[in-house]
């Protein structure tokens, strides 16, 4: 099973490599060459050829190795929820600013990963982002994302 997956990954990488290699022949790169024999796509083409050859190697390796069943069961629903939350965090960061988004992220993320003690959850969920924000913004003078809705945070 694992090696079948390796073959699939190899095929996927092969397709991506071929797509990128095809892109190196795009006309925009031909026009950009200014009296230099090895233009902007010389090096990426070399790299992509190696990419394709190694993807083929990975496919062959996957086909030749005997199939092994995966032993570890992964908690994928939890990972998907966490990833979606991270995506949502990045999206709202620009609007709500670091402080509000990170409190929201901290509370929900800890809940998703399995922290169920309400008092410590709320205390850390609010205090940690608040202290972090204060240290970075006011002590280290490193600007974090500011809210377009609320001024000052």
């Amino acid at each position: 099973m694992k090696h079948q997956k390796q073959v699939i990954l190899g095929l996927l990488l092969l397709c991506i490599g071929c797509g990128l290699l095809a892109h190196t022949y795009d006309s925009q790169y031909l026009n950009d060459q200014i009296d230099v024999q090895f233009g902007p796509m010389f090096y990426p083409t070399l790299i992509l050829v190696m990419w394709i050859l190694l993807s083929l190697g990975m496919i062959v390796e996957g086909l030749l190795k005997s199939p092994v069943t995966s032993q570890n069961k992964l908690n994928m629903p939890m990972l998907v929820m966490f990833s979606l939350l991270a995506v949502f965090f990045i999206i709202i960061l620009d609007y709500a600013g670091f402080l509000i988004s990170s409190i929201f992220f901290f509370l929900l993320s800890s809940l998703i990963i399995g922290w169920r003690k309400p008092i410590s959850l709320i205390a850390t969920g609010i205090l940690f982002p608040l202290i972090t924000w204060y240290v970075f913004e006011h002590l280290m003078h490193l600007p974090l994302v500011h809210s377009v809705w609320f001024t000052g945070i």
Binding site: F82, I90, L93, D94, S102, F128, P143
Partner: protein, 496 residues
């Protein structure tokens, strides 16, 4: 080398103002270096405004101490949470984190401290004894020689690819490709941006490293929560130094790694990450305990840490002796010198010898203070690691976001980090070494630039890269061949 000048420098550098400046610099460097994504440049630039009101020597000393502290600080998070605080410490993860997983995080930190001090001190000695001579040698390093050196660095991909060399090479090639996204280094052109303006500056290295190492680690742990007794977070117990007998066994490795680090540091533009990986690859080839490397062997930590800390001294050679900044950190240093009325360049050693030697002394003092600041930081880190896993994973994720954002102030970098995290997670699932990808990312820009500059210099004659016209390059290419084939030859003879 003038002993009287060195005496004057020693007296100047042990003034209380200077010692306090060094202590503040080291502590600040260790703290900022340990935070994923922030790094040496940020640590120094944040401290720069505070140096304006200071005297010449304390100002330069504080910045140098910050530099040394930040390189060391990166190893703390690399060992404890598999997240290199700075790209320089990426190689430390390879053995530091497995050692921490075995319950020896404190010992791993002890090894990192010992190796850092040895590396840092040795490079300072080299700096004091032979800065002008080494600087003269460094200028003989043209693009062809740099290309040969980077190829030598890439050989460490083979040594970290356990199980499948194809997967390791593929990861490195993906890293090399990702490093080529953005502006062309020779002609005015943008590559693989697909109309996305934010990609025109290239993929942010910090975002990629943080994503591939740290975020993918968070993803992996989340996947294991509630399975087989939970994710098994590392528990730290502060810092424990290895026994003297153990140090003695690895002293030559530390010295050799420090020499590699100093040598690479002298070359402008190569950097500590390159030095750490080259040194690691060399240890993997030559160490008596090479079979254990990658599974928590102290040799891996010693090789990486001695080399990356030795770069701090080495990098000052071209900066102070020739006025050539090798990287962003030394550029900030030179800017500070200029602000303080000192003109960097070939006359610096003649016109301001006491300041230069005092800077070397400050670096020695910084390295001597590393065990103290390291011990305090490790204690603090250990307390943090006692936090329950869900809260800790969330906090690490939040720090990844902050560290990445503060580099350029771009939300786009957060997306890069997120997708790099997914990529790293997939690589872990398929047992593809993520470190190989990082090696490709770190060495990629230098590899391309030196190759294309080399082709221009040699009139597009690639064969002349391997000719006697470039004896240093030829030596490095031969060394690469030896590093690649010696293990094969040895195993053949053993088999026979």
């Amino acid at each position: 080398m003038d002993i009287a000048l060195i005496n004057q420098a020693v007296i100047a550098s042990i003034q209380w103002q200077n010692v306090v400046a060094v202590l503040i610099g080291v502590t600040w460097g260790v703290v900022v270096g340990a935070l994923p994504g922030l790094g040496s440049v940020l640590a120094i630039t944040m401290l720069l405004p505070f140096t304006f009101g200071m005297e010449q020597i304390p100002a330069v000393s504080m910045l140098l101490a910050t530099y040394a502290g930040s390189v060391y600080g990166g190893s703390l998070s690399a060992i404890m949470i598999n997240t290199p605080g700075t790209p320089q410490s990426a190689a430390t993860c390879l053995d530091g984190y497995p050692m921490a997983q075995q319950g020896n995080a404190d010992l791993a930190l002890g090894w990192a401290t010992v190796a850092s001090v040895i590396g840092g001190l040795l490079s300072c000695c080299i700096l004091i004894l032979a800065a002008p001579q080494l600087a003269a040698f460094a200028v003989r390093f043209g693009p062809v020689e740099t290309f040969a050196l980077i190829i030598l660095g890439l050989t460490c991909v083979a040594s970290i690819s356990q199980g499948s060399i194809i997967k390791g090479l593929l990861a490195a090639v993906i890293g090399l490709f990702m490093a080529s996204v953005g502006p062309d280094p020779i002609v005015p052109s943008y590559r693989f941006t697909f109309g996305i303006f934010e990609l025109s500056g290239g993929l942010n290295l910090i975002a990629l490293v943080v994503g591939v190492f740290a975020l993918s680690e968070v993803f992996s742990r989340i996947c294991q929560v509630n399975k087989k007794g939970g994710g098994g977070i590392i528990t730290g117990k502060g810092l424990r130094y290895p026994k003297f007998a153990e140090i003695r066994k690895r002293i030559w490795l530390a010295i050799k790694s420090a020499l590699i680090g100093s040598g690479i540091g002298i070359l402008p533009g190569t950097g500590a990450a390159t030095a750490a990986f080259i040194s690691y690859a060399d240890a993997k080839r030559s160490s008596l305990r090479r079979d254990e490397m990658g599974h928590g062997e102290p040799d891996g930590i010693v090789a990486a840490e001695a080399a990356n800390n030795a770069v701090t001294g080495g990098a000052l050679v071209p900066s102070l002796a020739l006025g050539i900044p090798g990287d962003a950190v030394t550029a900030v240093m030179l800017a500070t010198l200029t602000i303080k009325g000192i003109t960097p360049g070939v006359r610096l050693m003649v016109e301001n010898p006491v300041t230069v030697y005092a800077a070397f002394m400050a670096l020695i003092l910084s390295n001597l203070l590393l065990p103290l600041t390291g011990w305090c930081s490790a204690k603090g880190f250990s307390r943090l690691l006692k936090t329950p896993e869900p809260l800790l994973l969330t906090a690490v994720t939040l720090f990844c976001f902050i560290g990445t954002y503060t580099v350029n102030g771009l939300i786009f970098d957060l997306w890069i980090m997120f997708f790099a995290g997914i990529l790293g997670f997939i690589m872990r699932l398929f047992q593809i070494p993520v470190a190989a990808l990082v090696i490709g990312l770190v060495l990629g820009p230098q590899l391309e630039l030196s190759l294309r500059q080399g082709l221009i210099v040699t009139n597009n004659d690639f064969a002349s890269f391997f000719s006697l016209d470039h004896p240093i390059a030829l030596f490095l290419f031969l060394l690469t061949l030896v590093m690649l084939f010696l293990p094969l030859i040895k195993s053949y003879h053993k088999h026979k």
